[in-house]
Amino acid sequence: MSDLDTWWRDIGNAALLGTARRPVPPLPDLGSAGVLGRSGESSREEALLDAAALGGAAVRAGRRLDHTEPPGAAPDDHRPVAPRRAVQLLELVMTQPPAGAQQRSALLAHWLGAADDADCRVPHALLPTVIALATGARELRRPAAAVLDERGRWLAGLRDEWSWVADASAGAEARTASRTTGTAPHADDWARLPSTDRVSVLAGVRAHDPAAARDLVRATWATDAARDRRAHLDALRIALGPDDEPLLEDALDDRAASVRELAAELLDALPGSARAARMAALLRPLVRRSGLLGRAVEVTLPDEPDPDAVRDGLGKPPPRRSARGWWLEQLCAGAPLELWAELTGAGPVATVKRLTDAHATDALAGIRRAARVRRDPEWAAALLDGGWDPTLVPALPRELRERAVLRRVDATNTKPHHAAAVIAAVEPPWSADYSVALVSRLRAAPQGSAIVVATLPYLVAGLHPAALDAVERWLESTGADHTLTTNLRNLLQFHSVKRSITEAFR
C-alpha cells in the first residue's frame, strides 16, 4: 500500500468520526504533481475538506483499471438472417401487434415457423426481444429456439431467466430434421434426447416413415418410464396401421394400466386386428334380431369378463358407470363395424335407428367411438343424422363435413357460443368455398357482433384468404356497431399480416 493509499484511508476514518474527535493526517508528498497544502493557518475542518477535495480528484484521475479476461465470443451462425421485409414485420408484430394484443402470439408463432421453414434466423438486434417474449409465453419457446441460431443460444446462455433456450434448442435440431425430411435420429441420440422433445421428434418421423418411428419406440421401450411409454404410444396415432398391431398387442400386457388402456384404445382403430375379432366374438351372442319382421334389435349386457377379455379392455369402469354397460361400450368400440350388418341385416342408417332398447345408449357410444377413430364416413353420417356430435365431423369427407357444419351453424346462429363450438369441429386451415360460405352465414346471423366475438379465435386460425373480400364487404356495411367493426378489422389485419409474413420469406 502506498503512502497515498494509507493517507486516503486515514482521511476516510477522520471523516467518519468527525474532526471534533479525530485529527486530520497531513498531506503526503504528491510527487511530480506538485500539489501543496494550503499555506497559513486553517482549521481542522478546512484541512479535512481540502484533503477530501485533493484526494477525490487524485482518486478519480489516477484510478487504475481492472484487468479481466475477455468474455467468450459466440460461434458463427449457421443460417442467413431473415429477409429485410420479414424483419420489419417481426418488429411490427412485437412492438405493435396488429389485430390486437391477443393475436400477437399467433402471429409471432407464424413468423417463427415461417422463418424456420425458410431456414432463416432472427436478426441479432431483435434477439433480446424475441427471447424475452418467448420466456413469457411457453408456446413460443420451441418455435423461437429453432430460429435463434448460435448467437441467440450464446446470448441466452448468459442470463439465468433464459436458460430454457438451451434445452429447447437441443430438441429443435432433431425436430427440424425429423419434421422437414423425416430423418430418424440414430438410436443412441434418440435415447439421449429429453423426453419432451422425443415426442415431437417421433411425430415428425412418424409422418414420413411410420416403421422407423415404431422402431424408435421399440428401441427404448424396455427402459422408458411408464409416462414416456404412454406418450410414445400416443404418438403412433399418426398413420396408425396394421403393422403396429404386434407392438400394441405387447402393450396390452404392459405393467402400467395407463399404457394398457391406451393400447386398447389404439387397437379400436384397427378393425382387422386379432383383438377386433376377439371383441366381435364376445359381442355376437349379445345382439339379436327380434320382432315379427326381424326389424328390431335387442342387446343384452355382457357378463363378468374372463381374464382374456379384461386384457382386451373390459376392465374397471370409469366412475359412475355401470360395469356391464361399460363393457358393452368397449366391445362395440373394439369390434369391426361390419359385424352389425351381419347381426341386424341392415346398413348403418337402419341399424342406428333400430338401436332403441334400454342398452342402446351404451352400444351407440361404442359405435360412435369406433366410427370416430376409424374415420368411417358412412357410420359417422348415420350417427350424425341421429344427433349432433362434433367429434364425428372429422370422419366425414371434407365436403360433407363442411356441409354438415354449415347446416348446424344455421340451426344455432341465435346462440353464438353454440355456433362457435360447431365451427371448432372443422380443423384449420379451411377450404376457400367453406370459408366464403361460413362468412356469409355468420353475416346473416341475427346477432352479428356476438357471433363474431365468439367465433373470432377460429376465424383467425382457419379462414381461407379467399374469404377476406367477403369480410371486407361486411366491414363496410357494419355501420355503428363498434364491436363488430373492431373485430372484423382485427380479423382482416391478422390475415393480411400473416400473408405478408409468408410472402416475405419467399
Binding site: 482521511i11 471523516a15 481540502d50 420489419q88 411490427l92 441479432h124 450464446w154 448468459l158
Partner: protein, 435 residues
C-alpha cells in the same frame, strides 16, 4: 437518399401511443397522392373528416408538417407516412415532381430559414437598460454569495461531526440543505446534494462517495470565492455546475463553430418530472466533441432525435467552458451528404488518461464522451484488447449490446461516468447502430 430503418422512425415518436396509432395508419388504404424525393416525403391521409390531411416531411432535418389538429409532434400521420416509406413495399414511390402542398411548405421553410438568418445578422443585439441589468446581477451575486457562505458553514459542521453522523440524518435534512441552495439560486449544486443524500443510506460504498462529494462541494465553495481569478471558460464550467444558466442569446452571439458534425450518440432520460435528451456531436474538422441538451417538462415533447451516425452541416454556438462543452444549433442543420466517419477510437487506458486530462481542465465534468476501439462486451463490463476493463452503468442496454456484438471486438461510443461506461452507439461492419 437511403431509406431509414423502422427503429429510426420509432425514435422520432413523441410517445408510445402516437407510434401505435401511426402503425395502425401505416397501410396503403387511407393514403393518396404519396411520393418522395431525396429530401421530401409527402402524402394525403383520409381521416374522419371530409378533406384528407396533408402531410409533408423534410427528411433532412427531419421536420414535419400536417394539416391535422393534433398537438402531438410529430403527429401520427407524419409517423405513419414515414413507416410506409421505410417499408419499401412501393406504397410511397420515388417521384420527380413534388406535390403542390409539400412544395409550398418546403419553399416557406427555406424562405423562413433565410430570413431568420438575415434577421439574426441584421438585428442589433437587444440592449436592455444596462443599469437595471447591473443591479439585477448585483442582487443575484449577493444572494449566491450568502448561499455559498451558508453552504461552506454546513460543510465544516459536517466535517466536525463526521460523515457517520450525517448518514443517520433523514432525507429531509439533505433536502432542507438543497432547498436553501435553490433559494440562493444554486439549483445545480442543490441537485447534486439531493442525489448524494439519497445515495448515502443505501449504498455499500457510501463513505467514499460522500467523502468525494464533500471534496467536490468544498472545491465549489473555494472556486466561487476565488471567482475573480477564473477565466471565462473555467467560470463557465463552474456556472454550469452551480446551475446558473447562460442565456441562449448570449451563447448565440458568442463562440460559434461551423463544421460538419457527426452524430456520435444520444441518450434520453425521464425522471418523471423532466425529460432530457443529450446528443453528442463531433466536428470532423476540429475533432471536438460537444453535447446538445434538450429538455421537456410537463406535457412538452422533446425535439426529434438526430439520426446516430449521420453527418450534419451546422453552425454550433458553444457555451463558455473549458472541456466537454455544451453547444446549441445556431441554425437548423442540414443533413450532410458528404462522408462522415466514426473516429477510430482508443484503448481504455488512453480513454482513461484523456478523461483524467479533461477533469484536470474541468473538474465538474460528469460525463466524458469516449470512442473505444476493439472492446468486447461482457454481461456487466467491457474489456479492451489489452485486457483492461470498465464496468457498465446500471441503465446500459447490455442485452442488445451483447446480441449485436456476440462477444466480438467492436467499436463503441459511450459516456464515461465516474468509473463506469454507458455505451450509446456501436459500430458493426462499418454500420453505426444507436442503442
Amino acid at each position: 437518399m437511403t431509406r431509414w430503418t423502422s427503429q429510426q422512425v420509432a425514435g422520432l415518436a413523441p410517445d408510445a401511443s402516437s407510434l401505435a396509432a401511426a402503425r395502425r395508419l401505416a397501410r396503403p388504404g387511407p393514403w393518396s397522392d404519396t411520393g418522395s424525393t431525396e429530401t421530401l416525403l409527402w402524402g394525403k391521409c383520409q381521416g374522419s373528416g371530409k378533406t384528407p390531411y396533408q402531410v409533408s416531411i423534410d427528411l433532412t432535418a427531419p421536420a414535419f408538417r400536417c394539416s391535422c389538429p393534433s398537438r402531438k409532434f410529430p403527429c401520427k400521420h407524419g409517423l405513419a407516412l414515414l413507416i410506409l416509406w421505410v417499408d419499401g413495399s412501393g406504397s410511397v414511390a420515388e417521384a420527380t415532381e413534388v406535390a403542390g402542398f409539400a412544395q409550398e411548405w418546403a419553399a416557406e421553410r427555406s424562405a423562413r430559414a433565410e430570413s431568420k438568418a438575415a434577421g439574426d445578422a441584421a438585428r442589433p443585439p437587444r440592449t436592455p437598460d444596462p443599469a437595471a441589468a447591473a443591479k439585477r446581477l448585483e442582487e443575484r451575486l449577493a444572494l449566491m454569495d450568502d448561499g455559498m457562505d451558508d453552504f461552506a458553514r454546513w460543510l465544516t459542521d459536517l466535517a466536525r461531526s463526521g460523515t457517520a453522523a450525517a448518514r443517520h440524518q433523514s432525507y429531509a435534512w439533505w433536502d432542507g440543505t438543497a432547498a436553501r441552495l435553490v433559494d440562493a439560486q444554486l439549483p445545480g449544486l442543490a441537485d447534486d446534494v439531493r442525489s448524494v443524500g439519497g445515495a448515502v443510506t443505501g449504498r455499500p460504498d457510501w463513505a467514499e462517495r460522500l467523502l468525494v462529494a464533500l471534496g467536490r462541494w468544498w472545491t465549489a465553495t473555494r472556486a466561487w470565492s476565488g471567482r475573480e481569478s477564473l477565466d471565462e471558460a473555467r467560470l463557465g464550467d463552474l456556472r454550469a455546475y452551480l446551475g446558473w444558466s447562460t442565456s441562449t442569446e448570449s451563447v448565440r452571439r458568442g463562440d460559434a463553430v461551423t463544421d460538419r458534425w457527426l452524430v456520435l450518440g444520444a441518450h434520453r432520460t425521464d425522471d418523471g418530472r423532466l425529460q432530457q435528451q443529450r446528443t453528442w456531436l463531433r466536428g470532423s474538422a476540429t475533432g471536438e466533441t460537444v453535447q446538445v441538451l434538450d429538455f421537456a417538462a410537463g406535457g412538452q415533447v422533446l425535439p426529434v432525435a438526430r439520426i446516430v451516425g449521420s453527418g450534419l452541416d451546422a453552425t454550433l454556438a458553444r457555451y463558455p467552458g473549458a472541456a466537454v462543452r455544451r453547444a446549441l444549433f445556431v441554425h437548423e442543420p442540414t443533413v450532410s451528404d458528404g462522408d462522415v466517419r466514426m473516429p477510430s477510437g482508443a484503448s481504455l487506458e488512453d480513454a482513461r488518461s484523456a478523461a483524467a486530462e479533461t477533469w484536470g481542465r474541468n473538474p465538474w465534468a460528469r460525463r466524458i464522451p469516449v470512442v473505444l476501439s476493439d472492446v468486447r462486451v461482457g454481461v456487466d463490463r467491457v474489456v479492451d484488447a489489452d485486457g483492461a476493463s470498465v464496468p457498465l452503468t446500471d441503465d446500459a442496454d447490455v442485452w442488445s449490446l451483447l446480441a449485436l456484438t456476440g462477444g466480438e471486438p467492436a467499436r463503441l461510443f459511450g459516456e464515461l461516468e465516474e468509473t463506469r461506461l454507458r455505451p450509446l452507439t456501436v459500430v458493426l461492419d462499418g454500420e453505426v447502430v444507436g442503442l
